[in-house]
């Protein structure tokens, strides 16, 4: 084809395109103002380099509604009304080196935008996201942030002031589990005790009050993150023992220890258990053939346990989950994230026997799913 012929054809084509443009209404580029309506499950993807994004999935079809971008090593906690997500994360000046900004974000879940952000001290622990490392205390007036340098302490953040007001040393202890009422939290310690700490709005805090030894970290260690069951805390050991703790007084006390009686089955995973209050049921991820080091094994079954009698009310097949979450309503759903990044949804049949049935799944929900919360 001669050059002149090709040029003629090209010009003719462009003229045709312009003519076509005259006949259509140009589209308008917009931004969705809010996420699609309906209940949501949030999955934090732990980021070792760059963001720890929080993916927001609609609970019905597990459709991705959007994400929230935090810094690295993120932790998150959702307000009780499900409207505000708090995160703490690190921003490294040069991504993998340089000065760190530790930032608290207050996100509006519906618009997925930051309502507020402020810096706190940069000691917060760069640990895999888990419930006890960022908590809301005293009717959500304060945020408690677990530090690790590796020396452990807890930063108290006054949300009204938008600033950290205290750093409470918690040597040898981990997590900050808020009391049901008041400015107090409990931490689990390597010497087998629970330590309780009080703090005030002026930034002062009390000396730790230690419980008696309630477990042996060498012989039968406890998973660090307990369940809040009414006025009690329930811890679970690697060997399958539930420890019921009363943390309502200044000194935490062990009320009873009850075995799940799993035989060759043992609990395992990161968020190893979840609690459904209306049915008073604890769900536990279990694996067969436990050994020293299997306490993070993916789930082979999920067991439903009565939180009063601790009798097993049902055993259901699992799908390799490393974290589970029960929703709050009378008719719960159970969500799991697997070690391969799949989000799994189960319907739950309550009653004398509790059974789970997989009802949906979404592969590739996250690369390193580390923590889930739901707003329903």
């Amino acid at each position: 084809m001669k050059l002149t012929t090709a040029l003629t054809l090209t010009l003719a084509g462009l003229a045709g395109m312009a003519h076509a443009a005259d006949e259509i209404q140009p589209e308008t580029l917009t931004i969705e103002k809010t996420i699609a309506p309906g209940p949501n499950v949030l999955v934090m993807d732990f980021g070792m380099v760059g963001s720890s994004p929080v993916y927001v999935f609609g609970s019905e079809e597990l459709k991705l509604k959007g994400n929230i971008g935090t810094g690295s090593f993120g932790q998150m906690v959702l307000s009780k009304d499900g409207k505000t997500l708090y995160t703490v994360s690190a921003y490294l000046e040069r991504y993998v080196y340089g000065d760190i900004d530790a930032v608290v974000h207050e996100w509006d879940l519906q618009t997925m935008t930051a309502k507020r952000e402020f810096e706190i001290n940069d000691k917060f622990g760069h640990a895999e996201s888990q419930p006890g490392l960022l908590t809301l205390a005293d009717d959500e007036k304060f945020l408690l942030v677990q530090n690790a340098t590796p020396a452990t302490s807890v930063t108290v953040v006054d949300l009204a002031k938008g600033a950290d007001i205290a750093e409470v040393p918690t040597p040898g202890c981990w997590t900050a589990i808020p009391a049901v009422e008041g400015r107090r939290f409990t931490s689990i310690c390597g010497d087998g005790t629970l330590a309780s700490y009080g703090f005030e709005a002026d930034g002062t805090f009390t000396k730790p009050v230690k419980s008696a030894q309630i477990f042996d970290a060498d012989k039968d260690a406890l998973f660090a993150n307990p369940l809040r069951v009414g006025s009690k805390l329930i811890y679970l050991s690697f060997g399958g023992n539930f420890l019921v703790v009363d943390d309502s007084a200044e000194t935490a006390t062990l009320e009873k220890t009850v075995s799940i009686e799993g035989g060759e089955w043992a609990p395992g995973g990161s968020e190893v258990m979840t609690y459904h209050a209306p049915s008073n049921t604890i769900f536990v991820m279990m694996h067969k053939g436990a050994f020293d080091g299997s306490h993070k094994n993916p789930a082979e079954e999920i067991w439903a346990v009565d939180a009063e009698t601790f009798k097993v009310k049902g055993r259901s097949a699992a799908n390799g989950e490393t974290g589970i979450l029960a929703t709050k309503g009378d008719a719960p759903e159970l969500f799991g994230v697997t070690h391969t990044g799949t989000l799994v949804k189960y319907s739950v049949a309550l009653g004398d026997e509790v059974t789970l049935t997989k009802s949906a799944e979404r592969e590739g929900a996250a690369i390193f799913p580390a923590l889930m919360v739901s707003d329903f």
Partner: protein, 175 residues
């Protein structure tokens, strides 16, 4: 871009497969947690070059293609530096050694002795998702036993806090 994504996803697949393999592995070794209860500070400064290092290196992994099954990785959680320009006991060039580390107690099958292994992270560069990821937790404990805890960035005490990869350095006998 597609090629890059394919490589990334392939690496992540290996990572999660390795995680599953590691989780499914059976060790059945004795525990010496009480002796390994504290974090090692300045791990490299404390790490002697022991005779069995050479033997261990020569022995290679427990089974061909199962790098994570190598005995001294019994409590590792990380990407192997030996796949990223370093070795079992050295960080890749241009990175820095974590100032603190966690400790495992692993049995060398050649002499059936238990050794303390310092798992140091190498810091200040991006992690490489295409390298082998190992996740073993023999004797591992939550953050209340910080020196045994492997779900935390051990570059936390460095000036360069970015996680790059992990080495397994034998630092002594456990008994």
């Amino acid at each position: 871009m597609t090629k890059f994504l394919d490589r990334l996803l392939s690496g992540l697949d290996r990572m999660t497969e390795a995680k599953a393999r590691g989780a499914a592995r059976r060790h059945g070794r004795r525990s010496f947690l009480a002796r390994a209860g504290g974090a090692i500070v300045g791990g490299v400064a404390l790490a002697p070059i022991l005779p069995f290092d050479r033997r261990a290196n020569a022995a290679g992994a427990a089974a061909a293609g199962d790098e994570c099954g190598y005995w001294r990785h019994c409590a590792i959680d990380g990407f192997l530096c030996q796949d990223a320009g370093g070795t079992l006991t050295s960080c890749p060039p241009g990175s820095s050694v974590s100032a603190v580390s966690w400790v495992g107690t692993c049995t060398n099958p050649d002499d059936n002795k238990d050794y303390l292994v310092s798992y140091n992270d190498c810091c200040g560069k991006p992690l490489i998702p295409m390298t082998t990821f190992c996740y073993n937790s023999k004797g591992e404990r939550p953050g209340y036993r910080m020196g045994l805890y492997n779900d935390v960035n051990w570059c936390m005490a460095n000036e360069a806090k970015g996680y790059h990869c992990t080495v397994s350095v034998v630092v002594g006998l456990a008994e």
